[in-house]
Symmetry: D4
Subunit: 153 residues, 8 copies
């Protein structure tokens, strides 16, 4: 079984598309909590409110790190998606952790981010533009099968 | 499955409350032998009596370390509980091992110990006051669900 | 000697202010090449031009990684600065590597980035707003001396 | 050169007695900041005051951890002293880190703490009662010389 | 279960002979994609064509490395086969990775390559000439049984 | 499940007594090939005869190391038994590997070997004299139960 | 100081050209014994002749591995050169070790070997064709200076 | 500088012969305390007498382990000498630690011990019979020079 952690952008359906596309493959997916509000407030909601936003965020980030750390450390492949909005520093932070831990890193982003992501891309084993390419790579890695419609055809 | 090691204080029912609260979650709990007398005497009871109390304790501590070391090293999350009585240096020692091994550390103690535990708390991803908060965190980490009654409500 | 790697933003004088402020302390500083043009073009300038911007960037990023990896792995403390411009994903990537390698991480940024950097901050041992605070921390870590003008005075 | 980290109790002169006794030996000593007030307030003094005592302590503990982590990770031998007062959980926490990192651990405490420290002692290579014994051990480890006045004479 | 990675030459049936011979043993085999064309073109077929052959190869090699890295890191035993044709530098590269990761290495080659492979052989726990010898070794390692027809008979 | 590797002496029934005694416990045992002749000759029997006894032994030792290395690295607990005959340097060598890998080490030997084994014993978490004591320790570690007939009664 | 290990081909003057070109830079070079005959015969010359060429080679390879292992493990950067002759499997083996140990890998070879070395190149941070390019990279990594005559000019 | 740890037998002058022979080479030697009585009694002499010989030995072994552990972990090469007398299990134990830590291991013993030491020898990079051969190997590893009088001449 291939363990794949899906890190990064949480506002589009890229995770769903990968999970659906990989149906039938021997893959187990994991990823962060993708409910933005829950992810932001989890610390305070469980451990109590903070007056300062900084410590409110710290509590939540600590709690989310329990999930993230376990997910990345347990993964064979870490896919990190960079979208169009927000700073997404946590995505790049996850990518740095994955690289330092020797995980196989796949980066997923549009061509407009190529220059800004060059250090992250250089640490990756593959750079994809679409979730479908990620699925095709997982299929190839597990079965050796290339896609029927080849990108270089 | 999330592997959780419950370390520290053995005189209240905090472990039972966490285990009961986590029913239905994909968690496996582990922890030390909580029978105080057995834990103190195990070395001598199996390997023979010692005249010196120091070596009596050494034999028992060695034997208990087989269980503790395996439990902490195999855990995703280590919860360390500090109670009201005794020195509890073994709890802090376990926390130090967990931190050095890169385990996700949750510390559980009342507010009266905040200053004395500041170094341990700073190494933790979360500091809780009640076993129920630990359960809520495990549930959030595994499912993304926040508690119905929020602490910041 | 304390080995400190200064990662991140390269358009303001924050590195100079830290190095100047730390004069007399037993610290050795390291950091990336801060000449933006050289950093972007180093790969092509030495190994040959690429038609594709993507591979141009890859060559440069590979070469810069030789310096970065050595700097971070050899450091006791990694300071990562986030400025006002650009995506700065490489800064967050460095922070992720530093965290995974168990380095002492200090993050340096203005309050406007607190929410976006909450995961990175939560992995840090200190979050500073000014280079002078970084200097004061290095002095404290090495000598135990607090600043004459205390921030909590 | 033998690198020795002196962790734990900061209210008696045990560190001075070890350093003085080891004069002439090829040893480099390191340890935490032993000015109690500075150690407690360093975070707030540099990074700004906190209303909550919990976060005040967190800031200070993070900053002190930069020094502690480097000291323990760089040591060949970690000596941890437990005194008569306070909870001293940070001492036991340091001992746990040292043990998990495979450092040679020496524990220093009076006989009244033997039972409470049995897990820590069992992880140590030596348990001493006086600073002078620590000096004698360092001398023996470096030179092979036994003390002129033997404890078993 | 013994996890065995079969690395190297892909133009003869040595893998099939080992897998068939090991039927009934508690072994799980893994290895690279052995369809030469798919292995060469996978990167471009999924991620898009490259004008330069060098970057065409890079894309494919990155993708194949996801499979190889996971296979070698997850293995108990890495068998590396050197055949008669081609440079086979990737086989020796895999052997180097396996050795550095502390895997049990078995090298499989004809006597004509003994001198050229002396560094690789010296890092191996066994050097075999036939796939059948590999099967016999796997059987011995798992069951203690020697072959009915002994090579030293 | 507790994974236990039984290393060392192969001429008495100590392994059988431990395995039988541990029936019903969640333990998986592993160990070397205990057929002395097969263990000595396995290399030559599979890979071909050697004129020199030194290289005959080398071939066999390499092959046995595949099994030993996997067994020790996969174990939670390594039990090493020293008997009355032979040099048994391989037993002490296994113990050294187990210690360096951070495995829980139990040493099993009669009192006549105490002085000669003092370095090995000092690296162990327990030193037993009989296989039955090993069984009692495994039971205690897994269930917390002490033996009905206590050694210190 | 940058520690650079120069591995691989020993029949041309590429090492000399790199060492000479790097004069004045803070670099320490290391590499294998480049006297081919001494390297082949060292084992037998010191430890005694072997009738079998296989064991003659084994003795020499073991002895050379003492130097190689230390050189690669102690290096920041490992440069591996592939020339025109021989199998050079030891070069690829060194590259595999360097990659698995997380060393910064630079591969040096002519364009005719690009396809055969694609797996090795993909694990490298830079692929050069001339020793002078290696020197320019070392200078850039250490000083940030680009070559006066740029390859992309 | 090559760091060499000389482990094992302490009753002949083999260490002196190696140290003398290596004069002029860039080698730093380390080893255990070779005063047998001091080595046996160091624990009790410093930490106090024990009634039981077993705990007397334990105290000494713990103290000696501080020196041994540091010596082996800091070494590039570990030479382990097996002599004619005693069980020498500590020598084999040191060899096991060195092997598991990835140190370059050289074993030194007479031909009469070849069979008993086959597992240890198989983990070594070289097996020598005389201290002079060890010196010649150190010289070759550091300088590439073969002995004037070759063993295979």
């Amino acid at each position: 079984m291939l363990k794949v952690y899906l890190s990064g952008e949480i506002h589009t359906d890229w995770r769903d598309r990968i999970v659906a596309g990989a149906e039938g493959l021997d893959v187990r997916f994991d990823g962060p909590v993708t409910d933005h509000a829950a992810s932001d407030d989890c610390g305070a909601a469980i451990l109590g409110a903070e007056e300062s936003r900084f410590w409110h965020d710290r509590k939540g980030a600590g709690l989310n790190a329990i999930r993230t750390r376990r997910g990345i450390e347990g993964a064979d492949v870490v896919v990190v998606r960079f979208g169009d909005k927000y700073k997404q520093w946590n995505a790049a932070f996850d990518a740095g952790q994955a690289a330092a831990l020797g995980k196989s890193l796949i980066v997923l982003h549009g061509p407009e981010h190529q220059h800004a992501l060059k250090e992250v891309d250089a640490a990756a084993l593959a750079v994809a533009e679409t979730p479908e390419q990620v699925v095709q790579m997982l299929r190839y890695v597990l079965t050796g099968a290339l896609p029927e419609t080849r990108a270089d055809a």
